[in-house]
Each structure stands twice: as structure tokens, then as C-alpha cells.
Amino acid sequence: MRDSLELHLTVNGRPASLRIEPRETLAEVLRERLALTGTKVSCDAQVCGACTVLVDGLAVSACTFLAADADGRAVRTVEGLGEDGRLSPLQQAFIDHAAFQCGFCTSGMLMAATALLEEEPQPTRQAVIDGLEGNLCRCTGYAQIIDAVLSVASATAGEPAR
């Protein structure tokens, strides 16, 4: 008999209960059991940030985070960013700035930036650069990503977006 355990958590505000194996990562549970495939796995080593999700508001690498450790906690993924079928301002800014190409880093980048902005709604350009240093993108060279995040920050402040 393989070990299993009960997992109770909320994902994007909705409660979920399921039986999992202890070895399952949060990324595996999200993708394979809850069909939330927006969370991507790339380096599988906590370096690239493609699998970034928020657990109780904190960014973590879902590829190396045991799903068991999400028990009783609130998980947010890219699928939960928009509200009522509308894009979040950050998602819209990514489209406006063409802040993605292949899109494989995008979910993680959006979640990392969301955590960053929730913590510091008015970051400086340098704070955005430093805050996203651990999220890799191989397509864009980052310029449009940084601009997109900053545009949301300044829009929030009532300043004209860049």
C-alpha cells in the first residue's frame, strides 16, 4: 500500500479536498489533479520561477514544495488572478506591453510580480528588477516585463502609465 494523506486547501478562493501521495509536489497536484495547468515547471530546481504560486501570499516554487505543506492554506495560481472573467491590471499590462513571447515563464512572472506589488504597491524600477531577479525569461530580455509591472504600480498611484 502506498501512503496517502488527506489534503484540504483553498485554491484561488475555492476549497478543495483530495487524497494525495506524500511525494506529490504542489505543482503536480495543481496540474495533474486540479487541471490548473497554467502553472508551468521548467528547471525543477527553484531557480527559474516558472512554477511560482502564492501560498498564504508568499511566493514559492511549486515544483519543490510538497503539496502536503499546502494543507490548510490558501494557494493562488495564475488562473485566479482575474476576477469575474476580467483580467487583473497586471495581466492587462502584460498584454499591453507585450511582456511575454512564448509564455512559459509568464504565469510564474505574473505571480511573482503580484506578490511583489502586494507587498510594495509603489516599487521603484530597481525594486522591480531586484524583486524579479529570480524569475527567468529567455524570450523577452525582461525590458517589457519590467515596464509592464511598473505601469501597474504607477497606474495604481494615479500617475499616467508609461
Binding site: D3, R23, Q46, A59
Partner: protein, 291 residues
């Protein structure tokens, strides 16, 4: 891909030790898992049972004890240390170090205890805490003990911890007035190429005591006594540091430094010289402010 294992989520020490004993040696402790799960994925380690210890109350909390020692529960995440007002006040160089460690996701999950217990040769906290004279508190089925960081870390990926012992807390002794700490690293890839920790105590306008440690380029974080000796007695003035720092860096010549893709031994030795100067300057300004 993480191999299969059984998970025990221990709420207290007895339960943890019991689960460990029941595993017949085929178990490991897990807290943040940032190191352990990675080596399991890579196939370097496999365990029938993981015993999750992060809920054990003793492993949490950051406080300055009545005896002046800073106690950091081993299960404290890097992020919590980075943001702790207590650490910021008592040991600001540690807060800075933690803020520059890996990336925010690893800091949100990984713990200071796990970092030390893993004894990865590139560990920033180990090199710095060694300079601070910190100790590691361990709890095992037969009781508790406390080891200096230098005794605890024995080799690359090797510590004095018995398999059934748990790292409970890190203690940093209260420093004498006029003490400052500094830590600097050179990092070109994911892990640092070289790092230097410094603790200085200034008395009567001169460096009275010094500790210098190096990490990342050696197998284990290493105290460089000769470097400290070269600094001792130097005037506590930024303008007068160049000579003593150069003399101190000479002491790195005797270190056994490994070559890898971060650089050759003599390049890392050269880097360490530059880091030493910056770490000393950082420590000195803190020391002067504290004097």
C-alpha cells in the same frame, strides 16, 4: 522527480524521535525541503520516511534572550530572518545576508536550520555565523547539546549532527560594545564563488579583536586566524585599513581552495582579498557606530 516516501508530521519532539526510530534508519527530517527535496529529485538521496519537524514549537521564534544571546529557531525561514526587526537590530549583517540569499521563493520556504544542517559549502549563513561565534543547538532522543558552528560543520555536506538529532536553534552570543560584523560574497553563477565574514571589536580607536572567515571557495567555512591577527591592532579608521587588509589577505594564501566553473583557486583567492576589504569596511563602520 521526487521518489515515493511516507510522511510523518510531528507536532513535538517525542513524536518525531519515535517516528525516526521506527524507520530503521531510513528516515530524514524535513522542514522547508528546499535542499532535501532537491537532492531527492536528483537521485542523490532516498528515504522511506520523511519526518516533518516544522510544527515543533521549539523550532520557531526569533528573540534576544535575557543573557543577551540572539536565538533563532531552526525552522525560521530565511525570509522571516530577513524581515525580523529583532535581527535587524541585533545582527543587521545577517538580515542583509539573508535578503541576498538565493531567490525570494527559496527564502520564503527554506529554513536557517536546514541550511546549516545541509552543510553545502556555499552556505552564506554558515560562513557568517562562524565569524559571529554562533552555536547550533541540537536535540536528540538522549538529550540536547550545543556545538559551535565550526564544530558542527565538518565537511562538505557533512556535520556533527547524528542522524536522529534535530537542529533546534542557532544562538549568536552578545557581542562586546564596539563590535561590528560584515559579510560579502562574489557571485557570478547561482552559488557564490567566494565569501568572507568578518567580526571586529573596536576599543580605544583600534581594532582590538577580529575574526575572519571564508566560505564557498573552501570545502567548509573556515576561520582564518592569521588574517584576524593581521587586522588586530590596526587603527579603526577607514583611511588606514589598506595595509592591514592587504596583510590579512596574504593569509588566504595558505587556504586549500578548490577550482570549479566559478574560477580557479588563485582567482578565488584574489576575489576573497577584495571581499575582505569590503567586509572589513562594513564591519568597521558598524563597530564605530556601536562603540
Amino acid at each position: 522527480m521526487i521518489p515515493r516516501f511516507s510522511l510523518v508530521r510531528a507536532q513535538a519532539f517525542p513524536e518525531a524521535f519515535e517516528a525516526f526510530a521506527a524507520s530503521d534508519g531510513d528516515a530524514a527530517w524535513i522542514a522547508g525541503g528546499t535542499e532535501l527535496l532537491q537532492v531527492m529529485k536528483m537521485g542523490f538521496a532516498q528515504f522511506g520516511t520523511l519526518v516533518d519537524i516544522k510544527r515543533i514549537p521549539d523550532l520557531s521564534g526569533i528573540e534576544v534572550r535575557p543573557d543577551g544571546r540572539l536565538r533563532i529557531g531552526a525552522g525560521t525561514t530565511h525570509r522571516a530572518i530577513e524581515r525580523s526587526p529583532v535581527v535587524r537590530r541585533a545582527l543587521p549583517a545577517l538580515a542583509d545576508l539573508e535578503a541576498g540569499l538565493a531567490n525570494v521563493r527559496v527564502r520564503n520556504t527554506g529554513t536557517i536550520g536546514g541550511n546549516l544542517a545541509f552543510a553545502e559549502p556555499h552556505s552564506d549563513p554558515a560562513t557568517f555565523l562562524l565569524a559571529c561565534g554562533a552555536t547550533v543547538e541540537l536535540a536528540g532522543p538522549s538529550g540536547r547539546r550545543e556545538l559551535a558552528v565550526g564544530e558542527f560543520v565538518q565537511g562538505p555536506l557533512l556535520t556533527a549532527r547524528e542522524p536522529d538529532e534535530i537542529v533546534v536553534a542557532i544562538h549568536v552570543p552578545a557581542a562586546d560594545p564596539g563590535t561590528g560584523r560584515g559579510y560579502r560574497k562574489a557571485k557570478f553563477f547561482e552559488r557564490p564563488a567566494a565569501s568572507v565574514g568578518v567580526s571586529l571589536t573596536v576599543r580605544d580607536g583600534a581594532i582590538a579583536e577580529a575574526v575572519v572567515t571564508v566560505g564557498s571557495m573552501t570545502d567548509v567555512p573556515t576561520v582564518v586566524h592569521a588574517a584576524a591577527a593581521a587586522l588586530a591592532g590596526a587603527p579603526a579608521e577607514a583611511d588606514a585599513l589598506a595595509g592591514p587588509v592587504r596583510a590579512a589577505a596574504e593569509a588566504f594564501g595558505s587556504l586549500d581552495i578548490g577550482a570549479d566553473h566559478n574560477g580557479s583557486a588563485d582567482y578565488k583567492r584574489h576575489l576573497a582579498g577584495g571581499l575582505l576589504e569590503r567586509a572589513v569596511r562594513g564591519a568597521l563602520s558598524e563597530a564605530i557606530a556601536d562603540a
